[in-house]
């Protein structure tokens, strides 16, 4: 066996090990879109709060007004739905472009590892909502979303882990300073997603 053959053999083993254990068709563009949805949603939320209270700041003074929270939750839910749909559609497109099957053992493991922290977080947020503990909702969104990214990162690009860690840190800050919860939410879901999506797009999808 020639040295060149061995090198190519080792390279093909390495690429196969990576391809078989990591889902690499995650679309960077969907991150940018999710960030834009979040910014639009936050803007609408800001307007709703502004009309009634003159600011983005959540304070105890109006926690008794639940209709405003219903509107905010509805917006947040819509953003989540749109973001997940864009991520799925664009990743499926990316996988098809590469000639790969998007429904394989790895994408299934990726989804289930993400779903467990995400669903427990969702239930936790619903509980917070029902108990009218509104000031920790933004923090809980960020923390549980960050944890689900960290847990999913073992089945995809390791960059996802860093996005997750940043979200968790922002979530903890939001818990510490609940008055600025929405601001941290905008930084995490809006700004970070756009930065992350742009980096990923140019690093891998080009």
């Amino acid at each position: 066996m020639k040295e060149k053959d061995i090198h190519s053999e080792l390279a093909s083993i390495r690429s196969l090990m990576e391809r078989s254990s990591k889902f690499l068709s995650l679309s960077g563009l969907s991150g940018v879109l999710a960030g834009i949805y979040a910014l639009i949603g936050a803007f609408i939320g800001h307007k709703i709060l502004n009309e009634k209270y003159g600011g983005l700041v959540i304070s105890d003074s109006y926690t008794d007004n639940s209709t405003i929270y219903h509107q905010l939750i509805l917006i947040a839910g819509l953003i989540l739905l749109l973001s997940v749909l864009s991520c799925l559609l664009l990743s499926v497109r990316q996988a098809k472009k590469k000639g790969e099957n998007y429904w394989n053992p790895i994408s299934r493991r990726l989804m289930s590892s993400m779903a467990i922290p995400l669903f427990s977080g969702g239930l936790f947020i619903i509980i917070l909502f029902l108990r009218q503990e509104y000031d920790l909702i933004a923090a809980a969104c960020l923390i549980f979303y960050g944890l689900s990214l960290i847990s999913a990162s073992q089945y995809t690009f390791s960059d996802v882990k860093w996005l997750g860690i940043c979200q968790v840190i922002l979530g903890l800050l939001a818990a510490l300073i609940p008055e600025s919860g929405l601001l941290f939410w905008v930084i995490g879901f809006g700004l970070l997603h756009i930065i992350y999506g742009t980096v990923m797009h140019f690093k891998y999808n080009r």
């Binding site: 061995i6 080792l10 093909s12 196969l16 090990m17 078989s20 053992p105």
Partner: protein, 100 residues
């Protein structure tokens, strides 16, 4: 160089067998159909190579059913893991020796 060649595992001479082992080393388990898609081989081809690796006791087979469909999962055995690592070391040794 003679010693390195002796370390070469006959079971891994075939490229597809080496690829099957690579996938199983990187994953806890993998099923037949996904393996077939990933390696882009035919049913019969994959089955014969899997049988060869099974005979060497390099892989473990776990047959279950999802509804009425058979779902066969493969995983690497301890013996297979050692043999694969030894094979990679042999490949590395050849590169090292040729550099000297």
């Amino acid at each position: 160089m003679k010693t390195s060649l002796e370390q070469f595992d006959k079971a891994f001479e075939n490229r597809i067998r080496l690829q099957i082992m690579s996938v199983l080393l990187a994953n806890e388990h993998y099923d037949f159909n996904s393996l077939k898609e990933l390696l882009d081989v035919t049913d019969g081809n994959l089955a014969s190579h899997i049988k060869a690796l099974e005979k060497e006791e390099y892989i473990l087979v776990n047959k279950t059913f999802i509804g009425k469909k058979p779902n066969t999962q493969y995983s690497v055995s301890e013996k297979g893991r050692k043999a694969f690592i030894k094979h990679l070391e042999a490949l590395e040794n050849i590169i090292k020796q040729q550099k000297i």
